[in-house]
Symmetry: D2
Subunit: 337 residues, 4 copies
Amino acid sequence: MAGSSFGTLYRITTFGESHGEALGVVIDGMPANIEVNIDELHTELLRRAPGQHAVHTNRREDDRPRILSGVFEGKTLGTPICVMVENTNQRSGDYDKLKDSYRPGHADRTTMIKYGIRDHRGGGRASGRETLARVIGGYFAKKFLTSMSFYAYISQVGPYKLEKDVPHGTARGEINIPDETLTNQVIAFLNDCKTQGESAGGIVRLSITGVPAGLGEPVFDKLKADLAKAMLSIPACVGFSLGSGFAMTQMKGSEVSSDSKHFGGMEGGISNGEEITMDLAFKAPSTIGDKAKEGRHDPCILPRVIPVVEAMAAVTLADHFLRQSAYASFLPSDKDQ
Amino acid sequence: MAGSSFGTLYRITTFGESHGEALGVVIDGMPANIEVNIDELHTELLRRAPGQHAVHTNRREDDRPRILSGVFEGKTLGTPICVMVENTNQRSGDYDKLKDSYRPGHADRTTMIKYGIRDHRGGGRASGRETLARVIGGYFAKKFLTSMSFYAYISQVGPYKLEKDVPHGTARGEINIPDETLTNQVIAFLNDCKTQGESAGGIVRLSITGVPAGLGEPVFDKLKADLAKAMLSIPACVGFSLGSGFAMTQMKGSEVSSDSKHFGGMEGGISNGEEITMDLAFKAPSTIGDKAKEGRHDPCILPRVIPVVEAMAAVTLADHFLRQSAYASFLPSDKDQ
Amino acid sequence: MAGSSFGTLYRITTFGESHGEALGVVIDGMPANIEVNIDELHTELLRRAPGQHAVHTNRREDDRPRILSGVFEGKTLGTPICVMVENTNQRSGDYDKLKDSYRPGHADRTTMIKYGIRDHRGGGRASGRETLARVIGGYFAKKFLTSMSFYAYISQVGPYKLEKDVPHGTARGEINIPDETLTNQVIAFLNDCKTQGESAGGIVRLSITGVPAGLGEPVFDKLKADLAKAMLSIPACVGFSLGSGFAMTQMKGSEVSSDSKHFGGMEGGISNGEEITMDLAFKAPSTIGDKAKEGRHDPCILPRVIPVVEAMAAVTLADHFLRQSAYASFLPSDKDQ
Amino acid sequence: MAGSSFGTLYRITTFGESHGEALGVVIDGMPANIEVNIDELHTELLRRAPGQHAVHTNRREDDRPRILSGVFEGKTLGTPICVMVENTNQRSGDYDKLKDSYRPGHADRTTMIKYGIRDHRGGGRASGRETLARVIGGYFAKKFLTSMSFYAYISQVGPYKLEKDVPHGTARGEINIPDETLTNQVIAFLNDCKTQGESAGGIVRLSITGVPAGLGEPVFDKLKADLAKAMLSIPACVGFSLGSGFAMTQMKGSEVSSDSKHFGGMEGGISNGEEITMDLAFKAPSTIGDKAKEGRHDPCILPRVIPVVEAMAAVTLADHFLRQSAYASFLPSDKDQ
């Protein structure tokens, strides 16, 4: 049942139930001598914290990280970094009625079948709260992937969508949508959802720039394969597509080849030095009806999932960057002959 | 650069370039005492062989497998099974002109950047021919996953698509489309593509039945995550969606929850005992124009990718089945309390 | 630089520097439904705590464990268990003079070469204090390996040694030597060492009973190979021998075969159901001279390493027990034909 | 039951039973652009081939390697290298009488318990013949570890032993003993063993020079830990000791520290740039009596195990060299401050 580690050289191992003592992560394989900053890390965690916007759950999570190891006098030691966040504001009593009921679409029943036991409070290990550990892993990854930039945004919520991709780095607005009109439409839509005890899904677009060519390990650890795994491991993620993705299935070869942007920054599963792009589908949360109206659940997780998507991308790229670096001394000095 | 292994307990390691001496696979972690049959295996390999239909490449590959180890008197020994297929019919000379050119959308240029060297003949390691090793891995996996059934079919080629899903096991016809009208449309379309030096992509639908509830290891090795990785590792695969996938992004929570089929057989990334379903997007092959008209390339890989998709699913399920089995003795006898 | 995980299915990942915020471990792959007890765990940790005997360092470590995750209402959940121990009693100032000096035989200089940075306080990550995380990992392993018993003892310190092996479970006395005369000799010897600023090494004998036949995975993950790795990963361990070990090198085949005890409980690297035995060599600590006379270092680590040796054995067996269990359903019902 | 892979970045996966179709290895993670030579490889394999000296088994093995993949025009491609050796000279009939008997000290009985089936011919997977796959893995490792030199020799057979270590590279004589007198004693001794149906064990000393400081990954993948695992995975290996090993257990700290040679080239489990040394204990083969007199078994495996020991060391160092190389760009330019 060991499935809580991700990565080969840059490897994160997460732990924690949503209503247990604490959640956290051990990052093994972090380069040494990298300057890190607890306030920066805290700021990154706040990006996924609930309660920041009216469309979110009204729960509040302080999520103060505490670095237990691997950092000395502001620099990484190269040893495992453990960061924990205590669960200070979890009202377990709220969940007593869930003890004997399984919510459709949640992991309640499958968890019980798999383990024969579960922590029923707030989803336990299956809670979206687990993703804060991933954001921590992403923070450290980005600190040494200095050439790269990770930029995710919401391109669709329910029936509302962006007409076209926006440039990498476009300002995202209050709920991570880089368009004012769409932002307003979605806020109105989500407020309706909340009132009706409804929930909504949508699509996240991710762009990564500054990735050197040559990352990705054929034939199973292709960059597209490991990114797909990284994304599908996020709760509620139900789809992944690279570059022009499903739209490419209707294009003829000449059309696909007419613009390398369709490939999404990879050829043969290896980064080609261009912008890496992908779409991620998230389903509507399964908490609906009266339970949803109580307000302790997000009617839509997309605004808060943005930093998680970026973090998982950074963790994946960190691993592949190091894997390729191991062979740097064996490459001809003029690589692209 | 080690990336040619997949799986933890049931682990396949593939090797081979398309025009090297041989391709093959080592399967480590196969249960002992399983009856296997070289003719069955050969039949399975023929499902992905080219030259079986007019819409395919007119290359022919005999692909006779040879079991080098791990099988004794018709039964598996529990030791690593190595199966090789010699490259007897590869005309390397055909590829001399590719030595100094990089084909867009192929791995040619990225391979050169990554390794500083490449076998330019027929795509080398990046060739679709590598997938025969996966089919072998899938054959052995299916031999002990006796409760499970793997069924993939083409649901779309270019603009032509099935109106709705077909039942698991529906007869697939000559090019793996379970509908006669669509089959005829697609054959006509692909013949046109061939004539024009064009190529086409499409969508494969995969259904897996008989999967016990409880498979998948939170939080990173969720079943959906490992299946996504398995599928995206296939050449030309550019998208993965679980259950109702991208269509779910437009559904409200009440609609998603109204029919468990939308979830695709998993909740919380753990199998729930229902039919597992997913869609896989494949882009059109990058070989177009005069080169494509020569006829040694498929204008569309979907008909031949069907057994590869089923094999990768079987390999993934085999691994997860064994991982969960390791804990069987610790489960309460009445698991679903 | 990721090297802080051990095991495939039962996997421990340790973290922490000796004078950082905390040390601890994440245990991934623990079976669910196992009753555990924080007081029992605390008692186990006290077995390796310093300050319990005059021959030890006079440092005191409280080492109260705190379970952060994976346990709910006294039972394991099957999710990752994180246990941390805060470093409350570490006097970092004591170590300022070590900042710019490398102690021979310690990891000081090699750590600096490897990472370009180090936490010089008390050995940092290379400190023996890291081993408490292993003891925690061993505690949980033993909770489900109910048929097995792990028993280690000191058979030699410096020139003083036991004449012959003692039966599994013999009472071990105040410094883990199962013989009163030898205990007194060693105490006198170690007190002399302390006075002289000297240190001493020795040999630990480990016996494991109740191991079912069939554990160990040829050809690289043989039980003897993984146990050797487990033991050699312990600080100051410089030798491992199985069964009659180095003494066997002088025996002829007929003598080796005359008594299966020589084999140490394995044939072909697979457990044969008999008692597993091994010897472990530990070198004298490198802290000698005036530094040693200050009394904050053990003149001999063997008394305190006993629970660490048992823990690493338990962790290794836990992993192999689960790996073999994964295949239980494929074995003929009468295995030993 | 997957246990046939070794290494993280440089990873070998071996396959094959002694009397099956073929044995071989897949090497994944080999650097690209390395010149290799099939004749050199063949020569390396002949170093472990039987029948080269009167004290060996009189079986003959041609062991012609065939490179199936990963090498193109004399250079490595960076893709998996599969090398196979066909079993052309195996007389299976010789072993029919073993079908229903278990030889003590062999893996016969434990294999049957573990798998419920076995290939009884010549030890099957547990045969020493499996080690030729390791020698192949070592050949490729050495090709890019150009600064390193691996030198093993026999220091003891039965009661006969070298008085002291010989310098790295000393000529080894016909049975890999770097001393003429001892060579003659051992030959006489082994001929006596053969006549009497007896067998003998002994000790191999290994020296590795040219290893850069900084290799080894605390805390579990220390260099000493991975080397111990590598060596104990070799059939009949029953002991490992680093540097002065078990002799160090009787030395006081001042003596240990007086000469860094005692440490065997590591401090804290990380290479320190000095010569790496270790001793390996091998037990006498279990085939004795009439069966041994038939002459198809070695009375002592030590002369033939020398290239296997060197190969496993090279494979281990290759992996650690690459793992450390992944972080090279993050080290301060003047590492040893």
